[in-house]
């Protein structure tokens, strides 16, 4: 008899998580929990200024503190050719500043001591003299003719521009606009935000002189990329580097890049020949590590009077900070911004993008996002909202007119991606029904008569998850595929390893479910291991919702290789020809004689004790998976809000999410991802952002200024599902981790704008802080979130 798939923890089981067993006992193993014998501790001294020349650094005071073992400055790093390191976007980034500091919080020196308190004492005893330079805090200022040059370290860098980039069909789009009945225009800023996992970054470098081996425990979402990067930067052979990513206290893209702290801890371990631990504090994390967003949009939609979109123009100006260190596929300068409008039938579009340096922290990471798709979908849905309003058309109806239909797939998007599956209108209908859209207009009108401001905001989108295919997606030439290795032990138990790296997604639970689905081995009999480059097979890591689309597919494929070999063994055991052997979950049997069978466990035992003549013994394999396309989940998010006209405070009355991420491996975990994503969407719409004053001081350098929603503010969410299997993924799954963060913000903002529609206000930049909403209500003007620049007194 075939096994009951849910009972063995296969596909579709809301299997409780394996990793929870240690986390609920406080037995997680995060990097700061690791203690090595003789370990020293490192602290970083950071620049208090955004832009300044370093006149002098006096470290003698630090050396005088008892217990200080080493002090590093830029000069010492330069002597070892380590003052600068390459970024993931073909730029360079300072490890320790030599010539000048280019953002507040930049690393200036570091102290290694017997304990972290002493290391901090050492940092305080360092005296740095700065000569301040004018700081640049936004792209307008950066591109001004007389703007001071931030990257004077680079030859051939005459201004603060990093790139001009374009994609799409300019001429075709111009023609579409010439034929339009109505052109809708809107400008906005997607503010800088920080992924801010509760655990900040950290590393323990342990260089063993006797073996020449460097082991680094590190908060990284992509250990194999880090191994390659460390090998290149530190000139240590790759086989002599072992990166171990232990339990991660969240990542959200923040733990993808290589940070100066990692490099310094490695050098410090080499110099002291002792393990060196660096644990970043929250402030260091917020002011110096990978942020997300910070993009300005000018958007135009050309339409016919009946609502049909004819073409779209977008121009973005993006603020990358002092170093271009975006973590994204190298081919695309502004990430996958051109995935915008993928869910709509838009005949033609054109995007131009300009990236600039400013005196702000570098980063541009994919914060719960596939490389700027968060901005792309937010801009798209804000443009759609404004376009519908400009036409005087209902928001839902306007989307219905333009959404790609179920029988249109595969469908080329206006910027050239290929979407392959979905039931967009069905998702929209479910969402509208759940929120009570039909009755809302009347409810809104009646409320308004009583002085209450209600609004509904819709956001519909499909986004490209699971980079990538190797034709198009690489980071610095490294193709973005993944692998899995599966070993079945003789008793039918197994260990699975992948090159992905869980940081809360629950891989230890769900990967085992995929194997259970493919082989019928109960998920409880399968151990999943990730994060150690000496044992895990190669992978590009976990970010951009790529684990299930890529590594998850590799897990299915390696299981199928195992099953193919097991089938041969089964034929041998059953004394039947292989063609006559049938498979049902967990066992092979002879066609026509279902009771004559052997279990997968019996095949495993035979692989080590009774293989047919000429067969290689054992039952293990690996698989590399290069996806043929991205996966395209669809989502419809609808928020209903009430704005308090007296204070500008807005509350979420009802939030509905309809997600189609294809086949759900573990529905409980999928729902957990969606609720977490919606909360980050709510955070960005409502309170969470990093801005700067005119001197380049970071506003948002700790959790007292950088506001994250608590259980008290966060609304409840109503979840619905639609399942359209991905046609090319082995088990039909699509990415899901980031959908709600990507599509959610526009639902909240569109809802508030709907509540304010009578005022004529078209846009308030996120976050929709009470004072911004109140300003808009009282003045009737749009509210910009662009950081202000210094004006001459």
């Amino acid at each position: 008899m075939a096994l009951d798939e849910v009972k063995i923890g296969g596909l579709g089981a809301s299997r409780r998580r394996v990793e929870d067993n240690r986390f609920i006992r406080g037995k997680g193993n995060y990097v700061d929990d690791i203690v090595l014998p003789g370990m020293l501790h490192m602290e970083i001294l950071r620049s208090p200024l955004a832009h300044a020349r370093i006149a002098s650094i006096d470290v003698s005071g630090a050396w005088a503190v008892p217990g200080v073992r080493l002090v590093l400055t830029g000069e010492m790093m330069a002597a070892r050719n380590l003052a600068w390191m390459p970024t993931l976007s073909y730029d360079t980034q300072a490890v320790l500043a030599t010539d000048k500091v280019r953002f507040q919080g930049q690393e200036v020196a570091c102290v290694i001591a017997d304990d972290p308190y002493i290391a901090k004492d050492g940092c305080e005893a360092i005296v740095v003299e700065y000569e301040p330079l004018p700081p640049i805090v936004n792209p307008q200022q950066a591109m001004a003719v007389d703007a001071p040059l931030i990257r004077d370290d680079k030859v051939n860098q005459a201004d603060n521009k990093i790139f001009d980039w374009e994609v799409g069909d300019k001429d075709g789009t111009d023609r579409a606009f010439a034929q339009a009945d109505v052109v809708s225009e809107i400008e906005m800023h997607y503010p800088r935000s920080h992924p801010s996992p509760i655990e900040a970054c950290g590393s323990i470098a342990d260089f063993d002189r006797s073996t020449s081996k460097l082991t680094v425990y590190m908060t990284t979402q992509a250990p194999h990329i880090i191994r390659a990067a460390v090998s290149l930067v530190a000139e240590i052979p790759e086989h002599m580097i072992r990166i171990i990513s232990p339990d991660l206290g969240g990542g959200f893209g923040n733990k993808v890049p290589v940070y100066p702290g990692y490099v310094m801890s490695i050098l410090a371990s080499i110099l002291t020949e002792r393990p060196v631990k660096w644990i970043e504090d929250k402030s260091g994390n917020l002011i110096s590590t990978g942020f997300g967003r910070d993009v300005y949009l000018k958007g135009q939609v050309a339409m016919r009077n009946d609502g049909k979109i004819l073409g779209v123009r977008m121009h973005t100006d993006s603020d990358h900070g002092a170093f271009f260190s975006d973590a994204q596929p190298s081919k695309f300068k502004i990430g996958l911004m051109h995935s915008a409008f993928a869910c709509y039938d838009v005949p033609t579009a054109h995007l131009t993008a300009t990236g600039v340096y400013t005196n702000k922290a570098p980063g541009g990471v994919a914060y719960r996002c596939s490389f700027r798709v968060t901005e792309a979908m937010f801009f798209q849905e804000r443009m759609i909202c404004a376009a519908a309003d400009d036409l005087g058309m209902d928001q839902a109806e306007f989307r219905r007119v333009n959404l790609v239909r179920d029988d249109d797939f595969p469908k080329r998007t206006p910027f050239g991606f290929l979407t392959d599956s979905g039931q967009y209108e069905k998702c929209l209908d479910i969402g509208l029904e759940a929120i009570g859209y039909a009755d809302f207009k009347q409810e809104q009108e009646e409320a308004r008569k009583r002085g209450r401001l209600l609004g509904i905001g819709i956001s519909t989108m499909t986004e490209p998850l699971g980079a990538g295919n190797s034709r198009e997606y690489d980071i610095l030439g490294i193709k973005m595929f993944d692998s899995a290795e599966l070993r079945i032990h003789m008793t039918g138990k197994a260990i699975l390893r992948t090159g992905a790296k869980t940081q809360g997604q629950g891989h230890e639970t769900t990967w085992a479910q995929i194997v259970a689905h493919e082989l019928g081995i109960p998920a409880d009999d399968i151990v999943v291991e990730e994060g150690d480059t000496d044992t895990a097979p190669f992978g590009m890591g976990t970010y951009a919702s790529r684990s299930t689309p890529v590594a998850g597919a590799a897990v299915a494929m390696v299981s199928r290789k195992i099953r193919a070999k097991a089938r041969k063994i089964a034929a041998h055991l059953l004394e039947a020809s292989e063609e006559d052997v049938e498979w049902e979950l967990g066992r092979f049997y002879v066609r026509g004689a279902q009771d004559r069978g052997v279990s997968i466990q019996e095949c495993a035992m035979a692989a080590y004790s009774n293989v047919p003549d000429g067969m290689e013994p054992g039952l293990e394999n690996n698989a590399y998976y290069d996806p043929p396309n991205l996966t395209w989940p669809f989502a419809c998010y609808i928020a209903k809000v009430e704005v308090d006209p007296e204070t500008g405070v807005w509350d979420v009355l009802h939030m509905v999410a309809v997600d189609d991420c294809g086949v759900r491996i573990n529905p409980m975990i999928v729902e957990g991802q969606i609720m977490g994503g919606l909360t980050e969407a709510y955070a960005m719409a409502n309170m969470q952002f990093i801005t700067f004053d005119e001197d380049g001081n970071c506003i948002g350098s700790n959790y007292m200024d950088y506001l994250l929603p608590t259980a008290w503010e966060t609304p409840g969410f109503e979840l619905h599902e639609v399942v359209t299997p991905c046609p090319h993924h082995p088990i039909g799954a699509k990415g899901i981790g980031e959908c709600a963060t990507v599509g959610g913000p526009a639902a909240f903002v569109n809802a508030v704008m709907d509540a304010l529609k009578h005022t004529g206000v078209r846009n308030i930049d996120m976050p929709l802080l009470p004072d911004r909403v109140h300003d808009a209500l009282t003045t009737g003007n749009d509210v910009s979130g662009m950081p202000p620049v210094k004006t001459e007194a």
Partner: protein
């Protein structure tokens, strides 16, 4: 276990040490420490109770929450010397050798955690609530947890986990869907 244990904690030469003694998870522990040592660091580095996490250093995130004479406090903003003579409970003190605390069971059953970093603090705040209020409303749970930040879950399942635990602690069997209780024994 030992009734009294000397805990090694690094000190610098110039700062006079203070001797402290406290009950941690029911055991008496003592140490010579610098007055500036934070309670979180004594627990983590001195007593090797690494389930108490430090997240933000500014008393906002609550990852370092422990119970101080039964009340939740943020141990990253408290000097260890202030705990002299007091009773501390950390996440390691929640389960007995053979049994999980219902709050721990609830967090697993209701998927109240993802990366697990905020979980110990969340569970201790929840414990303090349920000891004072065995039958809280959803709003009361949300308010009681509002000093603990989570970036992964969106709180909805954390709230459900606490309500699940409350029900179990009141002697009922909380509802749970019939999906495979994977992950081996809890």
């Amino acid at each position: 276990m030992t009734l009294f244990e000397e805990v090694p904690v690094t000190t610098t030469r110039e700062i006079p040490v203070r001797r402290v003694q406290m009950r941690v998870n029911g055991e008496t522990r003592a140490a010579n420490i610098e007055p500036r040592l934070l309670l979180a660091h004594l627990l983590r580095n001195g007593l090797q109770l690494t389930g108490t996490h430090t997240g933000c250093d500014t008393t906002n995130c609550g990852a370092c929450t422990v119970l101080f004479d039964g009340q939740p406090v943020k141990s990253c903003t408290m000097f260890a010397v202030q705990a002299d003579g007091h009773e501390i409970t950390t996440v390691e003190g929640l389960a007995t050798a053979s049994e999980l605390h219902p709050i721990q069971e609830g967090f697993k059953d209701e998927h109240g955690l993802q990366c697990g970093f905020c979980t110990p603090g969340m569970m201790l705040s929840a414990k303090a609530l349920l000891e004072e209020n065995p039958n809280p409303t959803e709003d009361e749970v949300r308010w009681a947890l509002s000093g603990n930040l989570c970036r992964c879950t969106g709180y909805q399942n954390i709230v459900k986990a606490v309500l699940w635990a409350a029900e179990k602690m009141r002697g009922y069997t909380p509802a749970s869907d019939d999906a495979a209780d994977g992950g081996g024994e809890a």
